[in-house]
Symmetry: C2
Subunit: 189 residues, 2 copies
């Protein structure tokens, strides 16, 4: 069983048969460090499962970049609004390291329910789960300090802190690299 199948299984509770059917639509692909998976304004006609490496979701403002998310091993990556509504992407997605993904294109993605009767239900659960995660994230900005947000992320995703330029994590947590660095030192003591 591939990583992809394993992941789909834990996540979606498919039968072995459905698992294989779904997985067959995903094609392996490598994005080299620095290459873009997606650029702002382009249509997003694919969904990928991240097998190894890291992708950063970000936006360029006049005076700085804002990192919205960093996707690591075991996550899916796409611009959901782009995929679902065929809108131009609102995010850049770029490889921080050489990154191996399995990709399904929109056409195949949209056809999944023909082959997997339970797909629409599964897909709903998945998107609802993503929604719920974002609700928590919004709540963290409403109710937590920079230090508390740092600690939450550190507890839940320690590996990130060794593998990614820290300035990107800082941005994703809504603070400057300097603040991040000071909090980090404080927590190490």
């Amino acid at each position: 069983m591939t990583d992809l199948e394993q992941y789909l299984q834990t996540y979606f509770d498919f039968t072995q048969t459905d698992l294989a059917k779904v997985a067959a639509f995903f094609k392996p692909e490598v994005i080299r460090k620095g290459e873009f998976y997606l650029k702002i304004g382009k249509p997003c006609q694919k969904l990928s499962f991240l097998q190894s490496g890291m992708l950063r979701v970000f936006v360029d403002l006049e005076d700085r970049e804002v990192t919205q998310w960093i996707s690591t091993k075991g996550y899916f990556i796409t611009d959901l609004a782009g995929l679902v509504f065929s809108k131009p992407s609102r995010w850049n997605i770029q490889a921080l390291t050489d990154t191996a993904v399995y990709t399904i294109d929109k056409t195949d993605y949209d056809s999944l329910s023909k082959y997997i009767p339970r797909w629409p239900e599964t897909e709903k659960l998945f998107i609802a789960h993503c929604f719920s995660t974002l609700e928590d994230r919004v709540f963290s900005f409403l109710s937590k300090t920079a230090e508390e947000r740092y600690n939450m992320l550190f507890e839940s995703n320690r590996e990130l802190f060794n593998q990614v330029p820290l300035q990107y994590i800082a941005s994703m947590l809504g603070m400057t690299p300097e603040t991040f660095s000071r909090i980090r030192r404080k927590q190490l003591n």
Copy 2:
């Protein structure tokens, strides 16, 4: 055509027949000012369409309340994670004024696809839309000042500012009532 049907139509692009079918599942209900639509820890076994009035989504912390959202005329209200995953609700939802809603209970909600073949697709689009809105909200915390967030909300939902205790709007924007008040004065000049 009821408000509900009208709203469902603009939102979901149903046929007239499907529209009537769906709408028939929703029962009118009134929540008096101060009453709770939902309490933290309780299961959320319903979804409602807000016909008039206002509901506030919030959490009690030790030393303060945090308002996560205020739902007004024309919005849906539920705890999505509760509805979809049958988890205990993570939010309190309380009426700020006497509020008229149309409510569908979970059992009926889950059965919709039996009557409306296009329901799963529609439901997916709806949840994906909610997700996308939250993405924008997260981004606003990563990239905007309190004043910028104030202005964004003011432009997009001016009525809210006349109808709701301002402290709740302040909380929902991630600032104190004092800061909100000062920004407000500044913008009025």
